[in-house]
Symmetry: C2
């Protein structure tokens, strides 16, 4: 679409260039990432790249959202490769700051979204969502986008960012983008590349368990028994150590025993040293609705 | 200076009018207040009202920063009178939203500034500064000012807002404005009007105690002994119940035993049912420096 993506590493330069583009009449679109880009990120960029949009992709492995130092260290990215990915995708600017640029002093100001991080990943990764909300608030203040794009695969993150945006009055439209999956159902993730061939082979069981639970509830089963069926199915695989499997309200991220409002069925599990998460949207027991999942790549 | 101040009560209208003014080339200046305006607020407005500035005064008694419901209820303001005050002061817009406009749903997203609220008022008013930081972040996102003006009388609030602004990358200049005092030294405050005549008579002892401590340190005394002298002086007044009297680092708001960096001497006390605070800046034991206090009104 547009020309070559420009790599920018300082906050001052991002501000200058975005302001220029805004004065030129562009809508500013932000796609926040931690690099290690794949077709899931590609789908975010494709959604952002509309006529008249100036698309900024941020690439920043945010240290304050890692609850485990070893996980942070393991999160290696190849910036050159990621920039080429963005370039091929026709984005207008890549913002890839250093940790020192983003955190020149130890961070003291944090954004917390009460309640929404109490369950699911929040329970297993203390401080994680505080770090996510804080860095996204910073990126919002730096780029001042009109729109920002987040994947539904990170459903709890999405709910927290949506609530932060409305509660703190950021004048930004949050656009959720459906999860992109491999043909066998595995949700795309930067962490998939860490799986052994055997782990990769069993990993799609997570998505199948989500589908199973959804189908059971659709067929009239209660949440508790649907959850038990899904856990039993996952129990077949000794390689999969389930961290949680829950049906939660899509807005509050709190477990429900009956699906009355839009909900999500969400799972987290460890396969060897790799932690995977996935979820599907679920509206009502009356059938319908499979939004939030797209089989095959969007690209 | 400029024409009549305009009263705006909705976020949407503020955004529209500020955007218009910004496109016209104005610098946007924000003076956040809780109403009950006095010459201290007048000094903030006078500082904000520079050629080319569009001055927005917000008037909002923020429920989420009150640690005591009775204190919130007692904080009655006369909006008509406050708007007239702003009008006479030549501000361009008064933003006076309802609580329902600012908090259409129960607030879940909060801004916290770790450490800076551990001492002084933060220790006695749990949740207070979280509420302050959060509402100021909201006002920043709503008005998107280029500059915001805060009184030095609320020194801990000022330090917290400064840190929040830099940590969360708000592109806003925080302008501290010196405390305005009555001729007898009492810092102006909306709460002063609640004092009985007798309480009003003894209230200036707070400022004199701050001066005493500063003079002792300037003369070579240690922080501990200077503090004891000040507390002894305040002990002469049975009407004054001291909550804290501390010498703190001006940036971290943590108590110091030796003054090496810019510091503040700060006091909080109850006179009857009224809680008063005050502070003075203090640079170095080598004499100099009396910034942060202005005798008599600035207006």
């Amino acid at each position: 679409m547009s020309g070559a993506a420009e790599l920018v590493t300082t906050i001052a330069e991002v501000r200058r260039k975005v302001a220029l583009s805004r004065r030129g009449g562009s809508v500013i679109s932000l796609v926040p990432t931690m690099g290690a880009l794949h077709e899931g990120h590609g789908a975010l960029m494709d959604c952002a790249r509309r006529p008249g949009n100036f698309v900024v992709v941020s690439i920043f492995v945010n240290p304050i959202q890692f609850d485990r130092p070893d996980d942070y260290r393991a999160y290696a990215i190849d910036l050159d490769e990621d920039v080429r990915f963005c370039l091929a995708r026709g984005v207008d600017m890549v913002f890839a700051p250093t940790a020192a640029e983003m955190y020149p002093e130890p961070q003291r100001a944090y954004v917390e979204v009460a309640g929404l991080g109490d369950h699911l990943c929040g329970r297993f990764r203390p401080g994680h969502f505080r770090g996510v909300a804080t860095v996204v608030a910073k990126l919002f203040a730096i780029v001042q986008p009109d729109q920002a794009f987040f994947g539904e695969k990170d459903a709890q993150q999405l709910a927290i960012i949506q609530r932060m945006t409305s509660d703190l009055d950021f004048p930004i439209e949050i656009v959720p983008v459906p999860t992109v999956r491999e043909p066998d159902g595995l949700a795309l993730s930067s962490r998939n590349r860490r799986l052994t061939p055997e782990e990769r082979r069993v990993a799609p069981a997570l998505y199948r368990a989500l589908e199973l639970a959804r189908d059971r509830i659709t067929a009239g089963a209660g949440v508790v028994s649907a959850r038990q069926s899904a856990l039993a199915a996952l129990g077949e695989f000794p390689e999969i150590r389930v961290e949680y499997f829950e049906v939660v309200d899509a807005a509050t991220m709190e477990p429900v025993v009956q699906v009355t409002a839009p909900a999500r069925i969400a799972v987290a599990a460890r396969l060897g040293n790799t932690r995977l998460i996935d979820n599907i949207r679920f509206q009502h027991p009356c059938g319908s609705l499979l939004q939030g999942t797209v089989r095959n790549s969007l690209s």
